[in-house]
Amino acid sequence: MIKKLKNRLSSNSFLIIITILLFLLMYIGGVIIFKDKNFGRMQVFLNLFISNAGLIVAAAGMTVVLISGGIDISVGSVVAMTCMLLAWMMENKGINAVTAVIVVLIVGIVFGFVQGWLISYLKIQPFIVTLAGMFFARGMTAVISVDMITIKNEVFLAMAKSKINLPFGGSVNKRGVLIRPYIYPSVIICILVLIVLFFVMKYTKFGRSIYAVGGNEQSALLMGLNVKKTKIKVYVLNGFLSALAGFVFCLNTTGGFVEQAKGFEMEAIAAAVIGGTLLTGGVGNVIGSLFGVLIKGTIETFITFQGTLSSWWTKIVIAVLLCLFIILQSVLMNLKWNKRKKINQV
């Protein structure tokens, strides 16, 4: 029994369980503390998804990259470029919304492909390649337009504003208005992305190869896996997801301007790490990253509900959590390693 528990403990899912527990603890804590301020409303929970839909998509993509042993810090800039491109195409060029969205997704894929090719075939450090990508995309955003562009395209605004009311859990506010809980299409997109990625990572050959490559590239190569191809696919996938995150982000902000989504990639990395993904690769899960994002969202909600605390505390709490989780990870890894050594000795 104890042995079983210990095995559980040292397995990778342990990290995710801690993250989920932490989220639940924080959330229930919030419901109790801010009882008189309606923290317990269904909509407060849904807002976590509505406001962070873009980040959830980006964090899911980032998780895949981190599992493969790489990193992609161009995500924030790609999101900004996507928003600007969408706004520019629809407002200045009169291109219809659907075409514009398809074009930006293709741009994302191409962007990812170039980065992936440089990383896997020319063997350049992913950090440097995506750093260049980050500067390039941010620069391109400014080249497209220095001024901010407001999206007024009716089809796009309809997509952004179409509320999907849930049939249950409505509440009456103090003005006597009944408000049904609602979500936007962006929430559905981000949840679909999570579900698809979860199954791809767990049950497909591609997904398992990513874990193998990230865990130990040499062994993966010796096992006969096509490491280069896997890596390039990872970056193409992430390029696509970054552009999709940009689209989802744009649904929330309905406009493009140069300074948008600065530091977005760092938030995505933080969410992935809190969600139990190892920066060294080979370990991680998109569901964990979802909870990483939700934890960040909950802290932000805490601060606005509290009302007087500086919003910069969000960053401090995230920093503390990051430290905590990284220490936890390294201890767990040590445990695992020692176990392996013992087996080898026997």
């Binding site: 210990k6 403990l9 801690i18 932490l22 603890l25 804590g29 503390i33 801010f34 008189d36 301020k37 309606n38 923290f39 409303r41 909509q43 407060v44 807002n47 509505i50 406001s51 001024d147 901010m148 407001t150 605004l157 952004a160 504003k161 506010n173 103090k174 003005r175 208005v177 408000i179 936007y184 929330n252 902000t253 309905t254 406009g255 301007f257 300074e259 948008q260 989504a261 600065k262 932000e300 909600t301 805490f302 601060i303 606005t304 509900f305 509290q306 009302g307 007087t308 500086s310 919003s311 910069w312 709490v317 905590l324 936890l328 201890v331 767990l332 040590n334 445990l335 020692n338 176990k339």
Partner: protein, 339 residues
């Protein structure tokens, strides 16, 4: 044995983590309960959620302080303040949280003009009045916000021109040709557009005023200095510099001094914003006038909220009062300046 030790370490970290969370919670708990105790008997406090851009400048900080000192519990308000750290997505999140908390009013100092349709639609649906301060927003439907409070930049342009006309008259130069250059703000910003237009309109009344050149100094001191240097090289007879904010005026002062002229005497310097440093420059005699851009929006917003509470209508666009501060008054006023 070693593994036992590591397990122990692990448990320790976990315990630490949990106490951290626990502590955090207890902290907020005592804080809120403390607040509750004091405010429970005054359950009819007006709750105002205020989403501020950030703390990027002295002007902004003064703006924030103005709200914090106006919306106090003694005055019958409870202010929920959120610093958006220059990010619009943070503002959108904060507004959604304000809506869920059933605040009575939402006040936004928007980071950018765009992207407010969705979230303001949610506020409207919940029946919460929204007051925009400082920058304007760009929405297709005007009913999404109740009113806007801010500076009348065009009026500031008029004021600057009027002051200049008066000053020149006093010096007996109202008939002679006056050569003017302008250091413009960031092109496209509402402050730049309003101030440039306002001054240009008034210029038509003075046929002896000649605008030699207009260039942007992007509201920064270094760029202002650079542009002024190039102006001084291309024109040898500049009488007046209009700097569309104080920082560019400081840069222009440095450039004029470097060129061997005396700012404030050889070249008249007209500036905008009237920050504290501008008063110091005026006392030193380097600057002639600064037209105020008032950040103290708090009292005005409170006035509007009181009107709305009584069910009165309010005007859609409301300007704050702004003064003109010439160098003569600088010494006595500097201590009353809050920013």
């Amino acid at each position: 044995m070693k593994r036992m030790k590591q397990l122990l370490v692990l448990l320790l970290i976990l315990a630490l983590g949990l106490t951290f969370i626990g502590c955090g919670k207890k902290d907020t708990n005592t804080q809120t309960s403390g607040k509750d105790a004091s405010s429970k008997d005054e359950g009819d406090l007006i709750v105002v959620g205020f989403s501020q851009v950030g703390a990027e400048s002295d002007w902004r900080t003064a703006n924030t302080k103005s709200f914090q000192s106006t919306f106090t519990e003694e005055a019958g308000y409870k202010l929920l303040f959120d610093d958006a750290q220059q990010k619009q997505e943070n503002q959108i999140k904060a507004i959604r949280n304000f809506i869920q908390q059933d605040v009575d009013y939402i006040v936004i100092a928007p980071v950018v003009e765009t992207g407010w349709e969705t979230v303001l639609g949610e506020a409207k649906e919940a029946g919460i009045p929204v007051i925009i301060v400082d920058r304007m927003i760009n929405v297709s439907d005007d009913s999404l916000f109740t009113c806007w409070v801010g500076s009348n930049f065009k009026q500031e342009g008029y004021d600057a021109a009027d002051w200049l006309a008066e000053y020149l008259e006093k010096q007996g130069r109202s008939e002679e040709t006056i050569n003017i250059v302008t250091l413009q703000g960031t092109i496209g910003s509402s402050a730049q557009i309003g101030r440039t237009e306002g001054f240009a309109e008034k210029m038509k009344e003075h046929p002896n005023w000649v605008m030699l050149d207009r260039q942007t100094g992007e509201f920064t001191q270094s760029k202002g200095q650079e542009v002024m240097e190039s102006f001084l090289k291309s024109y040898d007879d500049i009488d007046v510099v209009i700097a569309e904010n104080d920082n560019m005026a400081f840069g222009a002062i440095d450039a004029i001094k470097a060129a061997g002229k005396v700012p404030g005497k050889d070249i008249i310097i007209v500036s905008f914003d009237a920050v504290k440093a501008a008063f110091e420059a005026m006392i030193a005699g380097d600057m002639n006038v600064s037209v105020e851009c008032n950040p103290l929006h708090g009292p005005r917003v409170a006035e509007i909220i009181q009107k709305l509470e009584k069910g009165e209508q309010v005007e859609k666009l409301q300007y704050v009062e702004e003064g003109v501060y010439p160098a003569e008054t600088a010494a006595e006023l500097i201590n009353t300046r809050e920013y």
